[in-house]
Symmetry: C2
DNA sequence: TGCGTCATCCAAAGCGCTTTGGAAGTGATT
DNA sequence: AATCACTTCCAAAGCGCTTTGGATGACGCA
């Protein structure tokens, strides 16, 4: 059942039927009702392909997800982000277009989406330092929104970020106040902008306390459980082992805990852990008292907000760029305690 | 730059240009080359909306993701599945359309996608027993593929499933052979078909060994870390605590481990854990020797295969239904050992 | 020379919707 | 009775592609 049949059966023009169903004013209320009822009865839905072509809007928002054996951007944070964003899209009549592409083709994937006109806007995930995608998307003149930030980007662009530097300096200060002097860093991949900022926050806090940051107790990799385990195990086995660790996500923190307990040490007593908690829905940080002391910011909320703001940009492309910076909250859990007295 | 401009500048008809670019035979090789070069030079990409309307194919495959506060289908398994599926879509020129909808609207979301013609096919995630979506999609006459199975579905439908029953009976047998007699079950939500089958596998293995399954040591909920923790903690504190646990995913298994270690017990010695391992990319089951003894089947591979098969169905809608049943492999890790002697 | 075949190209008709630019009818006003 | 404003509807022209059904010319062959 398409618009033509529908209008023929109603004895009206396509124009009138289309207008009636789309809520335009120039149609009599009684005929509108008749049209609406008839359409409902026949379960009519306008063909999306035709509608898109006619209006020029695809009602789709693109997300490009690179994959490779090295670099899993399809990560733990991602699924919660799209859950939040998708929620908002739905309520505005949009759907999400996911393009899962090989790492090497990531840049190309963005320009394909734009040139083919398959999406009305794009979200940029996981920006690196001086991320080339930003300039590209500006060139392509397609609305886009960055989740995170890209240092050294020359012009301004729409984005929302967590104050990662502050989150990590606060976490580090928290440990320092507990008397810890040797604090290991278990960071994400440092070509990611957020990981850079986190390290700077950590280093700044140490330096402010008169402690020289020691690269020997900093690790950086994809944020998996085994990475957290391996890094912690190695650092604990070395000379001058840290008495506390600061981890970039709850996942490597779980690995850190495993390494600590394997040495028959107690988390929160012998060794402290603090981490960044993205408030992942299926991996919550405990139910009552948090498992891990953490700086927390919901990535799902971030997804929601990015979606809202991007839709705003699509509806009003000439508005000045929007930027938001969220502060993470510090929640105290069971994984931290005073630095143990020296033996 | 669109096809009309392109053909005008080339002094050719739209027909010829379109055919040249789409590889049809009825165009001279030298003119094809000229057209191709010109198009490449101008970075021309056919408009997807127009192409879709003309061909009737959207080159999109729909996934519906329900969300609610109760039930998080946006779960750990999901992100790896779509990574695998998306990979295959890309290589076939498809993209993924994600519709994130409120729980109550899930059914409607499928029929909207079909009626609006926005997708060429659909994947059904997380089938329950006698899942209504199967009949609906059959009615709507849209190609679809089910990841999992739905017991009691009257007619046959395209699907791929892991042999969950067998995976859990084998896991249970493995524990029985180690001398365990009291084995706790930490299952997923039992309205999910897979969770049902898993429990049956567990119960069957117990009964074959002459052990009466005891509902008092079975738990079922969303597969989160805190759930695994809470369930294990509770069971360990009760009379006749289990000496082993079988968990439905690596995530609650992590929670189980936490509860066990909290009681100063050792995993794999005092208490054994075996779990189902979906081989999640960012939460691998260790690198060398697995952390958890597990029955394993890659959900990412399943995503890949479902995508392939669905594309097959789209290209050949009248082919007989395809069904695949994968066997999980049993990998032995550090989390299991002989049942402790009675004190 | 005339005819059939083949390779190469094109005009135009869709695909199913939205939207522009009226047209027709209805009252109210002069 | 003529004019105007307003409401209500419609025919037709897009949107940018694909695809049908020829048209044209070159060539080989009888």
């Amino acid at each position: 059942m398409n618009l033509r049949e529908l209008s023929q059966q109603l004895g009206l023009s396509q124009t009138t039927v289309s207008r009636a169903l789309n809520g335009y004013p120039e149609v009599n209320e009684t005929t509108r009702k008749r049209i609406q009822d008839f359409a409902d009865h026949h379960n009519y839905r306008p063909n999306q392909k035709a509608k898109s072509l006619a209006t020029g809007k695809s009602m789709l928002i693109g997300h490009v997800i690179p994959f490779s054996t090295q670099h899993e951007m399809v990560n733990i944070v991602f699924s919660d982000f799209i859950a939040g964003a998708g929620e908002v899209y739905s309520t505005h009549g949009y759907d999400m277009l996911l393009s899962v592409v090989n790492d090497d083709n990531e840049i190309r994937a963005y320009s394909e989406l734009a040139r083919k006109g398959s999406v009305d806007g794009v979200i940029v995930h996981g920006p690196t330092q001086n991320d080339p995608r930003i300039a590209l998307l500006q060139d392509l003149k397609i609305p886009f929104f960055v989740h995170g930030r890209s240092t050294d980007a020359t012009s301004s662009y729409n984005h929302l970020d967590v104050n990662n530097k502050r989150a990590f300096s606060r976490a580090t200060e928290f440990l320092l106040n507990l008397g810890h002097r040797r604090i290991g860093l278990i960071n994400g991949l440092e070509r990611m902008d957020f990981a850079q900022r986190r390290r700077h926050g950590y280093e700044d806090a140490l330096q402010s306390a008169g402690i020289m940051p020691d690269p020997a107790i900093m690790r950086s990799a994809e944020m998996t459980e085994p990475f957290g385990y391996a890094a912690t195990k190695e650092l604990l086995a070395a000379d001058h082992p840290p008495t506390a660790f600061i981890a970039s996500s709850i996942v490597p923190a779980l690995g850190a805990r495993r390494a600590i307990e394997e040495r028959a040490l107690t988390v929160g007593k012998d060794v402290s852990i603090i981490c960044f908690d993205d408030a992942i829905s299926y991996m919550p940080n405990g139910e009552g008292e948090p498992i891990f002391t953490a700086t927390r910011s919901s990535v799902r909320d971030a997804g929601r907000r990015c979606a809202e703001l991007l839709i705003g940009v699509i509806q009003n492309p000439d508005a000045p760029p929007v930027a938001e910076l969220w502060e993470a909250e510090l929640v105290v859990g069971q994984s931290t305690g005073p630095a143990p007295k020296k033996a």
